[in-house]
């Protein structure tokens, strides 16, 4: 316990990151309590009103409360973070473990696929995937994840191939440990610190990419309170009603910044060697 307190005292990034992400999570959980209006509650009398005491962040072209919509948007952001990263971890870690442990042809195939997905711009690739599986928020998340698992595969592969030659793995093989058991009892637990760091560092990217696709109209569909969608529909009113763009934009920057801080902090804590990259 003291150790944890000490770490928090020393590591400023981790401290700030935890507080900011914690705040975001609380907002997402209690959005329905905090928000004064429902996110799709339209009121024709107050269309495009600037921020006031009734509508803190103003109202949009349908008279919906921007403040409430931004709050509900945090739920979507977290959904993107959790779902997207889970898919990436599942694909990336599995392939990384397999290619690092078995090597040879498996490794060459996986490394080739990883390099291939990494060499193409993720947004373009995801658009291609979406054109196959159809648009919508969840499909967008899937598309983004399918093209961005490569960094997990790379890190886990490198870790695995160095771990598999360690004495404790050889010893385990000598007393007849099976290969799946070697992977799950000996190698995977030792890669977890790096995976945690990668997770918190890839959340901002995933959120940004999904937002970009929503902005292009491929992701979340109206009347969803998604921030990317809000930015997209604010363009028409940018000069008359800038609050439509400013507040979802700030929320987005805040979220990305929060996860980045957390990631940097965790990296310093768990895997200082990754710092060079």
């Amino acid at each position: 316990m003291n150790e944890i307190l000490y770490i928090y005292k020393k590591n400023r990034y981790l401290r700030m990151g935890t507080i900011m992400v914690g705040f975001l999570v609380l907002v997402a959980i209690f959005a329905h309590v905090i928000a004064p209006f429902d996110y799709d509650e339209a009121n024709r009398d107050v269309r495009l009103e600037p921020p006031s005491s009734d509508h803190w962040f103003g109202t949009d072209e349908f008279g919906r409360d921007v403040f409430s919509r931004v709050l509900y948007g945090s739920r979507i952001a977290l959904r993107v973070a959790i779902l997207g990263v889970s898919i990436q971890v599942l694909i990336g870690v599995t392939l990384g473990l397999i290619s690092g442990y078995f090597g040879r042809v498996t490794d060459q195939i996986v490394s080739f696929l990883a390099d291939l997905t990494w060499s193409l711009p993720p947004i373009i690739m995801s658009m291609a995937v979406i054109s196959i599986i159809g648009k919508g928020l969840d499909n967008t998340i899937i598309a983004i994840s399918v093209v961005s698992w490569a960094q997990y595969a790379r890190v886990v592969r490198a870790k695995t191939s160095s771990l598999k030659n360690m004495a404790f793995v050889e010893t385990a093989l000598a007393y007849n440990e099976s290969h799946p058991s070697i992977l799950f009892r000996y190698i995977l637990p030792n890669t977890i610190p790096s995976i945690i760091v990668l997770v918190s560092l890839s959340i901002p990217n995933t959120i940004m990419s999904t937002t970009a696709l929503s902005f292009l109209g491929l992701g979340a569909q109206p009347p969803s309170p998604d921030w990317g969608l809000a930015l997209s529909s604010s363009i028409l009113y940018l000069l008359n009603a800038p609050w439509l763009a400013v507040f979802p934009g700030i929320a987005l920057v805040y979220t990305v910044f929060a996860f980045n801080l957390l990631g940097e902090g965790l990296r310093d804590l768990l895997d200082p060697r990754l710092r060079a990259r």
């Binding site: 004495a167 007393y175 000996y186």
Partner: protein
């Protein structure tokens, strides 16, 4: 005979680049033959790259071999079925060099020690009991069972690695540089512990090391290896008093002398760098040997018994 190694050759393909890949062969073991007797401490000594660790990995069938036979109590482990191989491996325990790398850093000591037993089908309770016993044997307090490896010192970690090896009650312990990562006083403790255990549990040891002082202190017989070949096999006493192979002599001379007054009497020969170039038609020591003659670069010296239980691979010893 516990282990009988007969004419084992193991090569690795090396080479970088797309076209050169696998073109070059390096012989990690080249026609290696020796055996391990019951209740014997056998030392394998040689410089780095001489194939010492590869021998250990081949004996356990952790890696395949190109030619030859490795028999454990008369059964060939390399060509055995998976089931049989598993059974044969149960005769062994292995302890590697680096104490920190010997234990899974994410597992408590207790789980590391109990794991081999559980794999063998021993119940959790029984395994727990044996783990406590093993800790007693290596003279460590049982409270360390709850620790993680990084909380322990190098000497303690190595004791735990030995404890894990002991729980299986092996016939043979393979110790790959068991002490080289430890400081001198701890080395002595570990070696004494190993000697006591060997006497108590009637095991054989294969001790792989480059440290001649370790060999002198514990071994009954010594196998000297150079560039994947066995150059001399004899009892420790014979090696010390009557080394026959020029390489063994060089090795003995290069070992540090503990008494400063003796140091002046040493006659250190100027020897060249090792040339790791595989040449199937000459002695590997050509270019480094002070007694070279014509025949040395024309044929390879076979390992022959020059005296009772003293084998040497050198033309000059005939």
């Amino acid at each position: 005979m516990v282990i009988d190694i007969d004419n084992v050759t193991k090569s690795f393909r090396v080479g970088s680049g797309f076209f050169l890949q696998g073109r070059k062969k390096i012989f990690a073991l080249d026609e290696v033959s020796f055996h391990l007797r019951e209740n014997e401490i056998l030392g394998i000594v040689g410089e780095s790259g001489s194939g010492k660790t590869t021998v250990a990995r081949c004996i356990l069938a952790l890696t395949g071999i190109d030619e030859g036979r490795i028999e454990i109590h008369g059964d060939d482990i390399q060509s055995a079925s998976r089931q049989k191989r598993r059974e044969l491996r149960n005769h062994f325990a292995i302890v590697f060099q680096d104490p920190a790398a010997n234990l899974n850093p994410r597992q408590r000591v207790k789980n590391s020690i109990m794991r081999p037993l559980i794999l063998k089908g021993v119940s959790q309770k029984e395994a727990n009991k044996k783990a406590v016993e093993a800790m007693e044997k290596v003279k460590l307090d049982a409270r360390y069972l709850q620790s993680f490896p990084h909380e322990l010192s190098g000497g303690q970690q190595q004791r735990i690695a030995i404890a894990r090896a002991l729980v299986l009650e092996p016939d043979v312990m393979i110790l790959d540089e068991p002490t080289s990562a430890l400081d001198i006083s701890v080395q002595a403790q570990i070696l004494n512990l190993l000697l006591d255990l060997q006497e108590e549990m009637k095991m054989s040891y294969i001790i792989i090391t480059h440290d001649l002082n370790v060999i002198r202190y514990v071994c009954d017989r010594v196998v000297v290896m150079y560039m994947g070949r066995v150059v001399e096999i004899a009892s420790m006493k014979e090696i010390d008093e009557n080394p026959r192979h020029p390489y063994t002599r060089m090795l003995l001379e290069s070992s540090p002398v503990l008494d400063p007054r003796d140091r002046e009497n040493r006659d250190i020969q100027e020897i060249g760098e090792a040339k790791y170039i595989y040449n199937p038609t000459s002695c590997n020591l050509v270019g480094r040997c002070p007694h070279e003659s014509d025949i040395c670069s024309q044929a390879r010296p076979p390992l022959e018994e020059v005296q009772d239980d003293h084998f040497v691979a050198c033309f000059l010893q005939k």
